[in-house]
Symmetry: C2
Subunit: 352 residues, 2 copies
């Protein structure tokens, strides 16, 4: 449905970004990278919840060297997040990083960048040019907007990498400000053929941060822009991955486990729909099939309003209906509804 912007695919380890590949979900560990066991544990949690690429902060050489042991114990590709010191990028490459993120706002010396690019080219490791609105290099000339400045810095760096015969490039242009971010990505999308990594930076705690990220990332994705996304939240990184999939699922760009359709409840509801929806949601964890499940507040409108669901329940006074694709298949006492729903779900999930 959404026509994606054509982009030149790159490979980060085993994962392809861009071209016709599905939009990749990534996150970042929040452990001290030098704490190897804790970092491996968090990468495994991330892998379990569907994270496909993980970035690690590399504040010093010890962190860069840790990549080698971490990599042997995890199954998803690792990207080294480098700021300030190009030698950390070289060490991360030596330790086996599958990708690099460089911030042109704080690694600017062309000779240093050249060394990193040559080492990455030898290993066929891609580099993300990771621009952040808050850490731009000083403006060489006045720009009409921060987003124009961001785009220009990214383009300069892209041209520099291309001049070194390097094209394993990915670009991001993040800001907290959503309209600024959208403008920047729209502009760069027309100017370079490389895949784009989307994100709204420092978007805050869950709920507020999910809303802000979903608006910014969602608008761009709907325009066909974006090949990989990272939702930045002040929370456990699995929350970032979950939010990323919810954004992608809402635009039908990815499937990822069940989708819960549940009504907000209103003065018409005769049972506690919110608690029931929470119980169903808990029971859905662990199901990987992209099944649509509905929890509706009224028998009269419920099955019809949720006819898009594969299966669902609609509650009335003391009793409720179990329905499949909008057709009621049985009417049950209220307290039996959840169990009946879960039984049907199990049989649906084992049916193929």
């Amino acid at each position: 449905m959404i026509a994606r912007r054509p982009s030149k695919p790159i490979r980060v380890g085993t994962v392809t970004i861009g071209g016709n590949s599905p939009i990749v979900v990534q996150s970042m560990t929040k452990t001290d990278t030098r704490n190897i066991p804790a970092t491996i544990r968090q990468i495994k949690e991330l892998t379990d919840c569907g994270c496909e690429l993980v970035r690690l902060a590399i504040p010093d050489l010890e962190a860069a060297n840790a990549i080698s042991s971490i990599k042997q114990n995890v199954s998803i590709p690792i990207i080294a997040d480098i700021h300030f010191d190009h030698r950390l990028a070289l060490a991360a490459l030596d330790a086996g990083a599958n990708g690099l993120r460089l911030n042109p706002g704080n690694i600017r010396d062309p000779e240093q960048v050249t060394k990193v690019v040559r080492a990455a080219r030898e290993r066929e490791v891609p580099i993300r040019i990771g621009i952040n609105a808050g850490s731009l290099p000083p403006a060489a000339k006045p720009y009409p907007s921060i987003s124009a400045h961001m785009v220009e810095v990214a383009l300069d760096q892209v041209r520099f990498l291309e001049s070194l015969d390097f094209d394993l490039i990915k670009v991001s242009l993040k800001a907290f400000n959503v309209p600024m971010t959208i403008e920047a990505y729209r502009a760069i999308a027309k100017k370079i053929p490389y895949p784009l990594h989307l994100g709204i930076t420092e978007s805050g705690l869950p709920k507020a941060g999910i809303a802000r990220s979903a608006v910014g990332i969602g608008i761009l994705l709907y325009e066909g822009i974006g090949d990989t996304i990272r939702v930045s939240l002040s929370a456990h990184p699995c929350e970032e991955v979950n939010a990323a999939y919810e954004i992608l699922k809402s635009l039908e760009l990815r499937q990822h486990g069940p989708v819960l359709i549940s009504c907000p409840s209103c003065g018409r509801a005769e049972v506690d729909i919110i608690s029931l929806a929470r119980s169903v949601d808990k029971n859905l964890r662990g199901i990987s099939k992209p099944i649509k499940v509905a929890v509706m507040g009224c028998v009269v409108n419920g099955p019809g309003e949720a006819k898009d669901a594969d299966i669902g329940i609609a509650c009335g006074k003391g009793k409720g209906a179990l329905f499949k694709k909008g057709k009621v298949i049985s009417t049950l006492p209220e307290k039996e509804l959840l169990d009946a729903l879960m039984r049907e779900l199990k049989s649906l999930c084992s049916s193929d």
Copy 2:
């Protein structure tokens, strides 16, 4: 920045929707409307968190009559949500409802609709034509898509109301499916001059539902479509209001209390940023000034990356920086940071 679609303003009680008015935030009570004290209590909670219009389910005459007592005890306009039975609309008008929502999917008899429209016209009470993808009337002809069917049903009803010399109209075209919703609103936006009420229906529990609603509502708002929004979540209605404001704030369409910019934390952080962000967030409740506050993980990049913030803290090893507009104003031991931030905030908030 966003050029809004011109729309003909209508008034729901004291609140103007459409034209150049700010986009109105609304929600719906989840209490039994017939339980007058509980409903009043919830409307007061909603008013306190910024809800500007509230809708009440009217499943029977007792609920319709309750509007009169409820209205005397609350300060925001009340909209009666009517399905199936046009007599409930007439009773709600008699009881003083400031607006009606009718679902043309289940109130279809032209004579019945005419009675309601005449009564609403006498009282100058607007009617929302509230289409839901799941409760459409049977299709009179084949439609290329559900969204085309939704638009056609809405247009038929609009024309019918206009033929009765009634133009206090608002329209919604809700679905759970985001691309379908967007298509429907885009189409109707070009065809009628009336304000549009946006929402993604049955979007589920918070987090998933916030992501889905923010994507759908955000895309439309960014295109200039939408005059009032309701986020539907299986949660306390104040969560719906909070999410609505986060969506509007992220697009700079409304201000509403503080904005928290907080970094996601990473292996570079030397303090527990996530806990600190939560503490700051708690301390921000009750502040109504639209101030931007930042909680950043590193002293090196933090103040710069959050220079858009009015005030913020950036944490290092054991100590941190308090900054205003990207400039460090003092360096403090870590455990004094939160208190210092809150003192500065208090003085900022009392300064005008």
